[in-house]
């Protein structure tokens, strides 16, 4: 958003109050150098909307779209890709040329321009795709916001040979270099890290990244042996022989057998099924059972706070037989073999156990270890200041996932609103009421994340982290990616109002005069009335633990929907990613049952918000709206259901500037109770109305205590304690 001089934020209201404001649409396509950013539109906006005495805010402007048309603009979150179709006039071939030169992935941003308010307002941003249909006259291409590929793995640092760091010499600022793993900055003014190419006397322009020697000649001091290329970010293991008593042992690499990327593990937890990088049988030919096997496991990507309780093949490794590295960049090598690499940025455990390992292969060896949790997570105290530290705050973990360029989703922090994350982290740390299995209320942190990222897509991981934290999914808003808590709306009086009644009406009507406001309710036959959540219980070594939350009256209604009096469970199962306490699981289980996943802003709703509305309004009424925002809708059509407040599910602006809004009921009393000290009144204990006497479903009953009262000849009188 660009506020030109002399503008105030309240101009949004002024624009909405003006009957017919002047407006143009500009589509900025940021072609790279030397073509820069060009603003495309359907009219020569810089002339038609010029204001005497004021420079047009952006140039150059080119007319490439059909006259008097705006784009169809879906405004969704960023997990399911939302896309727009751009249909350029291209008889001169210039768009095709630009696309050919700069390729896919060029940033596209759609703006409103209000010349009378000197306001350039971003509405959507995304990235250009490949042309769908280019015929020499028209160049049709789509632009998408969201994941480039639904199959993008996260974490994504795979076990393969070759350095995975981006060569520092290809980056243009120190900040970009600091975000990566290759420190070479000799090409920058004042840069001190790196060597000059002896044949040219200039910095190396590129790096093949295919062996350690290339790394040594670019970064390390002269005569450094290749295995001490400490910044080399690859998993190529060098076979190494070394003396072992009177024999020689030879290490064997196993990285080629590792199919999944390296994990990230957050919080103090037992990490199982470690990735074996290399091993070395150390045989004893006289007493085969007195032999050893030496193993090196990769534990996680990045820095762990601590490591303990290292086991190989379920045998604890003696302290004298183990060593580890916590995953720092340029960490020192272990003593695994004489010429072993350091595996920069990778947490390692090396140890040996005794036994007959004469015929051992990599798949025979397993490892587990207790990790203290990632200790390299950025925690921002303000949008400019951060420190890297240990935390299990779910918001900071999610930012870590979104931001990290080595293994994460790789979004630049500049593309996010960092204040959102600071607010979200504070909200996550709030102390809230939880309910135990026996129904007693207690207090705990609202949401934390203790778990590991492994072998799923980025789309799945981010959705699961958000769902289990009651976060919105990241969504585009005014040129940035934003995220918020699905929190109780503190100032309902400030919510935008939509109505089809009275003088302030702003819901569009059909030709027959009936307002374009319609509603629907989810069928009792399909509305989930039993939610089973699973979480990794910290009290049981992070074993998966199911809990059930259900609503018996709703199950009877489901039965009635089939015309009988049976009790019909409609069950949905959710895995609560990163949740490790029964308190958080209880709140989430209740919330998903009562409000649906993401508070009903997805496809499903819950028992307490079963009303969905759709209406159409004018674009000027939507300038402050975004997905997940709470709005107030007043109409006689809705009075029957008693809902006035709704949470926006989607916004779709049409080419005629009408905006279709879909929203889910926002039950004010429920949110109020949930966030008050009365929360226990709306939270069900797990396992429905039948809490297990031992504590939770699946637990054995408490051992009963006896106290003998008296006894007779053939009877004993006692009481339970």
């Amino acid at each position: 958003m660009i506020w030109l001089p002399d503008l105030q934020a309240e101009n949004f209201d002024a624009i909405a109050q003006e009957h017919s404001p002047r407006v143009a649409e500009l589509v900025a396509v940021s072609w790279g150098d030397p073509d820069s950013t060009i603003y495309y539109c359907s009219t020569q906006a810089d002339e038609v909307f010029s204001t005497p005495g004021t420079d047009f805010p952006v140039r150059p402007v080119e007319v490439r779209f059909e006259a008097n048309q705006f784009l169809d603009l879906p405004i969704e979150d960023g997990v399911a890709d939302s896309s727009i179709d751009l249909d350029f006039w291209d008889a001169d071939g210039e768009i095709a040329r630009l696309h050919f030169v700069h390729g896919q992935g060029v940033r596209v941003e759609v703006f409103y321009y209000f010349p009378d308010y000197k306001l350039l307002l971003s509405q959507w941003h995304g990235h250009l795709g490949q042309p769908d249909d280019a015929n020499g006259e028209r160049f049709k291409v789509s632009a998408a916001y969201g994941f480039r590929s639904a199959l993008l793995p996260l974490p994504r640092r795979a076990f393969y040979t070759g350095c995975q760091a981006v060569y520092g010499g290809l980056l243009s600022t120190q900040a970009e270099i600091d975000e990566g793993d290759c420190p070479s900055n000799i090409h920058l003014p004042g840069g001190t890290i790196g060597n000059l190419n002896p044949s040219t006397g200039l910095p190396f322009p590129s790096c093949p990244r295919n062996n350690r020697h290339e790394c040594v000649i670019r970064i390390e001091p002269e005569d450094t042996p290749d295995y001490l290329a400490l910044s080399y970010l690859g998993f190529d293991t060098q076979t190494d022989s070394y003396p072992n008593a009177k024999l020689t042992s030879t290490s064997r690499g196993n990285e080629n057998n590792l199919k999944r990327p390296l994990r990230r593990s957050y919080g103090d937890r037992l990490i199982k099924d470690l990735d074996l990088i290399a091993y070395s049988p150390e045989l004893d030919t006289k007493h085969p059972d007195k032999g050893w096997v030496l193993c090196m496991f990769a534990i996680s990507d990045g820095v762990q706070l601590s490591l303990s309780a290292f086991q190989i093949n379920n045998t604890l490794v003696g302290y004298e037989h183990q060593t580890s590295r916590l995953g720092l960049k340029r960490q020192s090598p272990t003593w695994f073999t004489p010429h072993v690499a350091n595996y920069s940025g990778t947490t390692l455990a090396v140890g040996r156990i005794q036994g007959d390992f004469g015929n051992v292969v990599g798949s025979d060896l397993s490892g587990q270890i207790r990790g203290g949790g990632q200790a390299d997570i950025r925690v921002y105290s303000d949008p400019e200041t951060f420190s890297e530290q240990w935390t299990i705050n779910r918001a900071w973990v999610l930012l870590d996932v979104e931001r990290n360029k080595r293994w994460g989703h790789g979004i630049d922090p500049q593309r996010m609103v960092l204040k959102d994350w600071i607010d979200l982290a504070g909200w996550s740390d709030d102390t809230v009421t939880s309910v135990a299995a026996d129904g007693t209320a207690s207090s705990g942190t609202r949401t934390t994340f203790v778990g590991e990222l492994l072998d799923k897509t980025a789309q799945r991981q981010i959705t699961d982290i958000c769902l289990s934290g009651c976060f919105t999914l990241p969504f585009p808003h005014r040129g940035k990616t934003r995220i918020m808590a699905l929190a109780r709306e503190e100032r309902l009086d400030l919510c935008p109002v939509f109505t089809d009644q009275g003088e302030q009406r702003n819901i569009i009507v059909a030709d027959n005069g009936n307002s374009l406001l319609s509603y629907s309710r989810m069928d009792d036959k399909e509305l989930p009335n039993r939610v089973v959540v699973t979480f990794e219980d910290a009290e049981h070594d992070h074993q998966e633990h199911p809990e059930t939350f259900e609503d018996l009256p709703q199950q009877l209604r489901a039965g009635r929907a089939f015309g009988d009096t049976s009790q019909r469970p409609v069950e949905k199962q959710y895995s609560l990613f990163g949740v490790e306490t029964i308190g958080q699981a209880t709140r989430l289980g209740n919330r998903i049952l009562d409000l649906g996943p993401f508070d009903g802003t997805g496809d499903e709703c819950g028992l307490e918000n079963n009303l969905r509305i759709t209406f159409t309004t004018w674009f000027t009424e939507t300038l402050t709206l975004h997905k997940y925002k709470v709005i107030r809708v007043i109409s006689p059509k809705l009075q029957l259901y008693g809902f006035e407040y709704f949470r926006i599910r989607s916004l779709a602006r049409k080419s005629d500037l009408q905006v279709e809004i879909s929203a889910q009921a926002y039950p004010v009393p429920y949110y109020d109770m949930l966030e008050s000290e009365e929360a226990a009144n709306v939270l069900r204990p797990p396992s429905g109305i039948f809490p297990n006497p031992g504590g939770r479903a699946g637990d054995p009953p408490d051992p009963p205590g006896f106290r003998t009262v008296d006894f007779g000849i053939d009877d004993i009188h006692f009481e339970l304690t």
Binding site: R22, T43, E47, R505, I508, T620
Partner: protein, 150 residues
């Protein structure tokens, strides 16, 4: 600027002068509305051009050409031969002109890209007229035209 030819409209009859506002509207019912102005505040003009004299009367020749031939050749020149189809014309209604004697100039173009001579004759002599639409050229004001400029 002087690359743009001025349509000599002597003896022409402007059957219609129109003005189009680029607007989008929303209807809230019971007469309540909202809207947006999405084009120039001056709107977009359109005209229908007819010939006001008999086809081959010599006193109304333009050069050696009759009006119809002049207009046909003018249309052909701008649609086929010139790099731009845009030409200059005087405001026939004098609506925006301070001095009726010096009418305001507009950039314009013929709306139709396809004509037969028969259809052309029908349009300019008997039917509704040949449609002309206002045009705009980035960076140029049609009233900067100076016939004295070399």
């Amino acid at each position: 600027m002087n690359d743009y030819e001025i349509l000599d409209d002597t003896g022409f009859f402007w059957a219609q002068t129109g003005l189009k506002a680029a607007r989008l509207n929303a209807n809230y019912g019971d007469g309540y509305t909202a809207g947006a102005r999405i084009g120039s505040v001056e709107g977009l003009r359109g005209w229908a051009l007819k010939i006001d004299v008999l086809p081959h009367l010599n006193p109304y020749l333009i050069g050696a050409e009759t009006r119809a031939l002049y207009l046909w050749n003018f249309w052909k020149r701008h649609k086929l031969e010139k790099a731009s189809e845009i030409f200059l014309m005087r405001d026939p209604a004098r609506l925006e002109s301070d001095d009726p004697a010096t009418p305001k100039l507009y950039f314009a173009r013929f709306t139709d890209d396809e004509l037969t001579f028969q259809m052309f004759c029908n349009l300019v002599f008997s039917l509704g007229g040949l449609n002309v639409t206002q045009a705009r050229v980035p960076g140029l004001d049609p009233n900067d035209y100076n016939p004295q400029q070399i």
